[in-house]
């Protein structure tokens, strides 16, 4: 940081609003794709684990194992295969969501009270009807908690994609460039906007959850966080 500069150069921000908007949208879509694809995979895996208790241990071990791979190493390993493409960014992001999502989705299904399942069976629900009409709605609070944690973590992780050059870094690029050129305003813009995005998405998802679970009014899922939000080792 050069001496005498103002803390925030507002003029620069106004001149670069287009740039800021572009990178914000890029950041959000990189994270959004990762969470959406990650959820689809994790949901299928979790349903499998709920039906086949034998695969549950191996599945959580693998998902947990993936989470411990340093992101730098993973990018490096992928570059020879997928090159400097969007896949190289998305594959690690998707893999990192699995740990959080699988855990929460499985916990959501596990949390359906056994008396409810027994009553459903006793009244003549078929297996599919029970899954979609009873188990899934009751698992929603924990599933949404998982998506919230996954989304917030992924929004943070997108920053690391700046390592792959200037094409996919989203808001992370501002931080990288700001540090390289000793220009604090860029760092602030990148940091503040990425935090704002994370908070916004989290609030939005809480609203979605409330709409999906009118029956749980008064006991919001905030008090059930099965694991703390975190960033993978090496990030």
């Amino acid at each position: 940081m050069r001496e005498g500069d103002p803390l925030v150069d507002w003029a620069w921000i106004v001149e670069h609003l287009d740039d800021i908007a572009f990178r914000t949208v890029q950041h959000l879509s990189l994270a959004g794709i990762a969470v959406a694809v990650g959820f689809a995979i994790a949901f299928a895996l979790s349903l499998w684990a709920v039906r086949e208790p034998r695969i549950r241990g191996p599945l959580t071990a693998v998902a947990g194992g993936l989470y411990t791979i340093p992101s730098l190493a993973l990018f490096a390993a992928l570059i020879p295969i997928t090159g400097l493409s969007v896949l190289t960014v998305e594959i690690p992001l998707v893999l990192y969501t699995q740990q959080i999502l699988v855990r929460n989705i499985v916990a959501g299904f596990d949390g359906v009270p056994s008396d409810v399942l027994e009553a459903a069976d006793g009244m003549g629900y078929g297996r599919r009807e029970r899954l979609w009409r009873v188990e899934l709605p009751l698992a929603v609070p924990l599933i949404v908690t998982g998506i919230r944690l996954g989304a917030v973590t992924t929004i943070g992780l997108v920053m690391i994609a700046t390592l792959l050059g200037d094409s996919f870094g989203g808001l992370g690029l501002f931080i990288k460039e700001g540090i390289q050129t000793f220009f604090a305003t860029k760092v602030y813009v990148g940091a503040v906007l990425s935090v704002a995005l994370a908070v916004l998405v989290d609030v939005l998802l809480v609203r979605v959850e409330r709409r999906l679970t009118p029956w749980a009014a008064g006991r919001v899922s905030d008090d059930v966080s099965p694991m703390p939000a975190g960033v993978p080792a090496g990030a």
Binding site: P113, D115, V116, L117, E118, A119, A120, D121, G122, M123, G124, Y125, G126, E129, V134, P137, L138, T213, P214, W215, A216, A217
Partner: protein, 393 residues
């Protein structure tokens, strides 16, 4: 709970257990069976209670009827047809199921919960809604108040009522009830039991009811099956018979040393031959009254008003001279007994009061006759002590 119900299934079904056994893998034949060669017949429209200590296989037996558990051997016949041959979901939709923890769906409104089976059966929304409201009213929950609430907003007793309403939704001929009133406090339980018995007078379903509480079994059952650990049927019969003549030491121990007292709750004051009371009306002449009182075994007469409602006991010493008998001459009063009072409650009231006789009165409060502790004891020893209403004597 009041009124009658309408529906499309209706009727009742005879349920027969035919040499039914359940053994879990890892146990050899002859040892550690959950249910061991159970044979019994539950006549259509009756309540049969399966009672016994934990591990006696009562819940397992119940769940074999709707095939939540499949028997290892033997058959369960519903009106003569083997349950194992029926499509399992179709079978279950035709059997009401009530469990202790209610199993209400937390994510559905009370109305939706009650309409569960109608919805599975593909009834129109309109018909589901009508049926749900009808049933909520039947179990004593105002539909307008409860229909749109969620289970978490109800008390334990209210949730149990919803559970019963839900089980009745498609008017099944058979109801399975697994400790349905076990999770509520004793006062609420007593009320739910009474309401359910009144409901059953109209519904006349075939009901299999599981409990570990012998008092509940005696109260709810037309027939009681006592099971012992290892899933063996120890005795099956009307409650009065089980209390009066336990078939084994196990049954005698299980029903308790106070089984004589428990039998008292199965008989009511109206079954006694009442002792006629010497009555005196206000304003009668003293001399004649004194003579009548002295001739009486109790040396007391009952002072009554014009409608023959009792005012109190009059002793000869209180009637001085030949003046008219007045209300002031009455000394003590006896407990008043409705003909529907159980002999257990009647005896309890007699023991509490410091008089020898209770007064049975009709609905208008007029004297019917006297009841003494001796009469109750005599009744329990008597030849018709075994008679249970409408059953084999």
């Amino acid at each position: 709970m009041a009124a009658t119900t309408t529906g499309d299934g209706g009727g009742a079904t005879t349920v027969e257990f035919e040499h039914v056994s359940k053994r879990y893998p890892g146990t050899r034949a002859g040892e550690g069976a959950a249910v061991d060669d159970l044979s019994l017949t539950i006549p259509a429209g009756r309540i049969a209670v399966l009672v016994g200590p934990s591990g006696c296989g009562k819940t397992t037996s119940l769940k074999m009827v709707n095939r939540l558990i499949e028997p290892t051997s033997g058959r369960i016949l519903l009106d003569g047809a083997d349950a194992a041959q029926r499509d399992v979901t179709e079978l279950r939709r035709g059997i009401g199921y009530v469990i202790q923890q209610t199993g209400l769906f937390p994510h559905q409104t009370i109305g939706e919960n009650v309409a569960t089976v109608p919805s599975l059966l593909g009834w129109t929304k309109e018909r589901q809604r009508e049926r749900a409201e009808e049933l909520l009213a039947l179990v004593g929950l105002a539909p307008a108040t409860y229909r749109d609430r969620y289970p978490s907003q109800l008390s334990g007793g209210e949730r149990q009522r919803v559970g019963v309403a839900r089980a009745l939704a498609a008017d099944p001929p058979i109801m399975l009830m697994d400790e349905p009133f076990g999770a509520v406090d004793p006062i609420v339980r007593d009320r739910l039991q009474n309401e359910f018995l009144r409901l059953q007078e109209d519904l006349a379903k075939t009901i299999i009811f599981v409990t570990h509480d012998i008092d509940e079994a005696i109260k709810m059952g037309d027939l009681v099956a006592v099971l012992q650990v290892g899933g063996k049927l120890a005795q099956f019969g009307p409650p009065a018979e089980i209390l009066a003549a336990p078939a084994s030491d196990f049954v005698a121990r299980f029903v308790g040393a106070d089984r004589g007292l428990k039998r008292l709750s199965l008989s009511r004051v109206r079954e006694l031959t009442l002792m006629p009371a010497v009555t005196v009306r206000i304003g009668e002449a003293g001399e004649a009254v004194r003579a009548r009182i002295e001739a009486d075994a109790f040396h007391s007469a009952l002072l009554v008003d014009d409608a023959r409602r009792p005012i109190g006991w009059v002793r000869p010493a209180a009637v001085v001279g030949d003046g008219p008998v007045s209300e002031a001459m009455a000394e003590s009063m006896s407990p008043l007994l409705d003909p529907r009072t159980t002999l257990k409650d009647a005896l309890s009231m007699l023991l509490d009061a410091d008089v020898q006789a209770g007064i049975a009165v009709d609905q208008g409060g007029a004297v019917l006759g006297l009841v003494t502790a001796d009469m109750i004891a005599e009744r329990m020893r008597g030849p018709d002590a075994l008679a249970a209403p409408g059953d084999r004597a």
